[in-house]
Symmetry: C2
Subunit: 345 residues, 2 copies
């Protein structure tokens, strides 16, 4: 297994170190190459993602990313120039974000119920297409536009993927989230594609919900959701909310998938670089460890993935959540659990 | 006071009846004209908002709206053709949505804290501009676009309004919510306008937060928010979430304001027409009653507004929330409270 690792900024390197520790227990032979991309490279050289590096990244089986973003870099530079550029260049059209409330984890909700959902967020279109502009900047007549671009091709492939995932889950339920009553054009396309693909999946029950109403259900009855399929921006918003009600973004994993396998998929925690707590051993590496489980699952190493997830579940059920330990201590604990699970497996 | 009332669909007429009952206690001389707009008119005549009706509506001091939307009407028709058309034709650029956790009301959050915020949502631009289209519909090469339109004029006036409101509140804090790291053009405009207007309001502290992170704080620390200013779509999403953590949309009021006073402002509950519970006396009219308080406040009748809000607060603090009573019973109770408050005032 050839793995490219982009530790990135802030707490990125810290959580990646622990995740690789855990990975080492299940795939000791993994060949890891680190790529120094992010704020410090940009400051030093002005580079965000050189073509040569992008070319090298393509030669790997998967990419593990810590976090990018730094207060010393103007907003949008690293996000658009590095993180989103990777997602777009590598055609990561399925942004997979499970949200599960593990036993032992306290939700911010008074009555969370049993939360176990997967958000399938489109990853290469919508308002993330970078299609917009400024006219008459800095005048009283300035206009700023942002265009949400949705194609039948792009919507179809992510909706198909979501149905496939729904059909493999016990509840076989899929919710399309959009805002069809206002965004009537994009909403029409998304609705028609879901209707069409649903004909091939009679085993999956389908629901529709407006994005605003979805946020209500996320905090009043999140257990209703099984698979959610939605566009890039709604997915961005809803997955942070879903993470918040399942114990926080310290636990939320994600995969940016090219499900065709043509490009390496990229796995990263949903959280950002958290510069305020960087370098202090305060970051919880669990989200990154769970992202490694998604990575292994994607590469067909289902048993190894299950072992990591089971170890995380055990740790979350038994840890003292008021004092979960330092970053490296959590990593050590998870690595030890995985190692003993591996030996007994 | 000349008031136009649009009861609308579903539970709209029921909650409006109760709200007018309460209004009658503080402004017995209010002259009320009802306008029959919504699903049934559309079914009967194909009309959504005839020019003549729009002209008549303009002659009023304010508009009270129940709810529009019905499952028998294709999604988007009533929303775009009636509700949004009213907001756009009457230049309702400030969509005002307070969210307060009243004593006695149970939040869906485990530890809500003291929530008392106002979301100032832009109401006439953004992705609601209706600027989009479909190309090659029903072919594999279909494209659907939606354009977010933001103007210096439109952003400036709503940001100014938000600062003014923040400066009149005890905490004097304003949070701009956007997604500047991805929507770099619109984000740049919004950020620059906030920075510029903030120079005229040194008494207001200013924060910025990405919309995704905002949903996290809405469920982990909503008490941090005082005034939020944001665009049309983010405001739509966040106000449903804010309502959900402050007792639900049964309590959430809103005002669609033309703050210049050139057009009548329109007041409505945040909730929709709830066709599933329509006609059964199950709807809580409180959100509409609180919308009447916003209406009175907007028309300068601050004492009357306060009396209604105080009566609602008293009722919420003392009601049996597991059995709040039928729609008309809640209306009767609130009217009686307002009446006795009025006599002792
Ligand atoms: C950092 C940012 C560009 C990114 C996004 O908006 O997708 C992040 O919020 C995420 O969800 O991965
Ligand atoms: C019904 C719909 C068009 C409307 C909106 O999106 O603004 C509603 O959700 C609201 O918040 O008032």
């Amino acid at each position: 297994m050839r793995l490219a690792v982009i530790p990135g900024d802030g707490i990125g390197p810290e959580v990646v170190t622990e995740a690789l520790k855990v990975l080492g227990e299940v795939v000791p032979a993994a060949e890891v190459t680190r790529y120094d991309l992010g704020a410090s490279r940009w400051h030093a050289t002005g580079e965000l993602l050189p073509e040569s590096v992008l070319g090298e990244l393509r030669e790997h089986d998967a990419i593990l990313l810590g976090a990018v973003g730094d207060p010393t870099v103007p907003s949008g530079i690293l996000e658009r120039g590095l993180l989103l550029r990777l997602r777009f260049e590598l055609d990561h059209h399925v942004n997979l974000r499970p949200a599960r409330l593990y036993p032992g984890v306290r939700s911010s909700l008074a009555e969370p119920g049993e939360i176990d959902m997967v958000v399938v967020r489109e990853g290469t279109e919508g308002l993330y297409a970078g299609n917009g502009g400024l006219v008459r900047k800095d005048t009283p007549n300035e206009i700023a536009t942002e265009v949400s671009v949705n194609t039948a091709f792009g919507v179809d492939r992510v909706v198909r993927d979501a149905f496939r995932r729904a059909s493999e889950r016990p509840r076989r339920h899929l919710t399309l989230v959009h805002k069809t009553n206002v965004l009537t054009h994009a909403g029409s396309l998304w609705s028609r594609v879901v209707e069409e693909v649903s004909l091939q999946h009679p085993e999956v029950t389908v629901a529709y919900q407006h994005v605003d109403a979805t946020t209500i259900h996320m905090v009043t009855d999140p257990a209703r959701f099984d698979v959610i399929v939605t566009d890039n921006l709604f997915g961005d918003i809803l997955t942070d909310l879903a993470a918040a009600v399942t114990g926080g973004i310290g636990l939320a994993a994600s995969g940016n998938l090219d499900v065709t396998g043509r490009n390496p998929s990229m796995f990263e925690p949903v959280h950002g670089s958290a510069p305020d707590i960087a370098g202090q051993g305060l970051a919880d590496p669990t989200a990154t460890v769970l992202s490694v489980a998604l990575l292994l699952d994607h590469l067909g190493k289902h048993e190894a993935a299950k072992r990591i997830e089971a170890s995380v579940a055990f740790d979350l059920a038994t840890r003292d959540h008021s004092a979960p330990g330092a970053t490296h201590a959590i990593g050590d604990r998870l690595a030890a659990l995985v190692s003993s699970n591996t030996r007994t497996a």
